[in-house]
């Protein structure tokens, strides 16, 4: 019990320390980040190229980049009246595949396997295919996905920390997307992180 409390305090202190420095200030963890997904990330991802909206646009224009959005799905509050409209809209880069809930460092093994299988299929089995991972600013989800892709042997991984906000702020076109159906089937009930 006491150990748990101490561990929680240490985790909280660590999370606080990671928050303290500002965007991009966190050190790169050795493996996947297993803490809260919302929070300051590193500004680098060893083995991957960090890209901004203009670089993503160039990759999109070349036509073969795979865009993977791990932005969270809007979570429906439990206490909304039944009559209230609930119509969440997830805006993303046109052509992106939306994989909500694929960001946590501690994904269940079967989900991680399904995620890998899905992405390899999307890349037509070509591990040299340029891949861009993104969500929103200060979000570890896209960092983790980039880290996973590198671990799976992808050789052209691009991490876009500005995410959809950075894309929209650059006045790039966007569109409303639905969850990737294969990923949705693999993660039922729908992930809400």
């Amino acid at each position: 019990m006491r150990g748990v409390v101490i561990a929680a305090v240490v985790a909280a202190a660590f999370a606080f320390a990671a928050q303290a420095g500002g965007p991009g200030s966190a050190p790169e963890p050795d493996g996947l980040w297993r803490g809260a997904l919302a929070g300051y990330t590193p500004s680098t991802l060893k083995g991957a190229t960090v890209v901004d909206a203009a670089a993503v646009a160039r990759l999109v224009d070349k036509g073969d980049a795979l865009l993977l959005d791990v932005g969270p799905a809007d979570r429906k509050p439990e206490t909304l009246p039944e009559t209230a409209l609930w119509r969440p809209q997830h805006r993303s880069i046109p052509g992106a595949v939306w994989l909500p809930g694929a960001g946590p460092g501690d994904l269940p093994p079967e989900q991680e396997a399904a995620l890998k299988a899905r992405i390899v299929t999307l890349a037509d089995g070509d591990l040299r295919r340029p891949v861009v991972t993104f969500c929103k600013p200060d979000c570890w989800g896209s960092w983790n996905l980039g880290k996973r892709l590198l671990g799976w042997g992808f050789t052209s991984v691009h991490w876009f920390p500005g995410g959809i906000n950075g894309w929209l702020e650059a006045d790039r076109p966007s569109t409303v997307v639905r969850t990737d159906p294969d990923w949705e089937a693999a993660t039922k009930p729908p992930a809400d992180r």
């Binding site: 919302a38 809007d74 439990e78 206490t79 909304l80 809209q89 959809i164 702020e169 966007s174 569109t175």
Partner: protein
Amino acid sequence: MIKLTIRAAALATAAALTIGAASAADDAAEREARWSDLRQSVFGDRKVEQADLLSLDTPVRAEDAALVPVTIQTADPSAIKSTTLIIDDNPSPVAAKVTFGPAGDPSVMKLRVRVNTYTNIHAVAETNDGRLVETTKFVKASGGCSAPVGASDEEAMKGMGEIRLRVRDDVTPGKTATATLMIRHPNFSGMQMDQLTRAYTPARYLKTIKVTYNDKDVFTLDGDISISSNPVIEFGFRPDAKGQIKVAATDTDDGRWEKTFDVPTQSN
């Protein structure tokens, strides 16, 4: 060879431009379809006219997506019974319905809302003769509904229900005066996550804000999770020679708060 490359580049540029233009058009069409669907859900088969009854003032690009100022104005206040504010692409799009009473003046109303993604905002007035009239503005902001309120929930809830009112103009009987109402309330959207515990804070938001002047209705606002925390509402009212403004608010957890303010009239 060089010529060919230039031509290829020109073609590629042309293609990229076409794609860009096409998706902008698609985007506009998607937004229109979305609005038509929403309009149907909120107002049924009733016709919603586009006329110059209301005007909506919003920043083109919001500084803070959780605090986007919205001003709704009309040149014909006596025609308006109620105004519904709809943020098309917010998960819960109907932000507020404001119903005006005999002591109210719908000429100007200002409030602050959360905007979740780049979206159209619609204000729809219902007139006293039963027409619906809309106006719209596009706002660039994202993440407003899930942005945390303050450092902790505990801090955000400090002083909850505290009501303040500032009458901005000299109050002359029979002439519309403007007041600013401030209510301390986190207006938790239910989409905000505690950074440390990774738990979602349950939704708890102001359901009704009712303002009366000498027991006559000024306005009643039915709110939702898109209203910013610590709501600040500017409104017009029609004062008598002497009077009191009463503010009564309720929230979704059965919280009830009430406060009465004396409104001194200018003595001249």
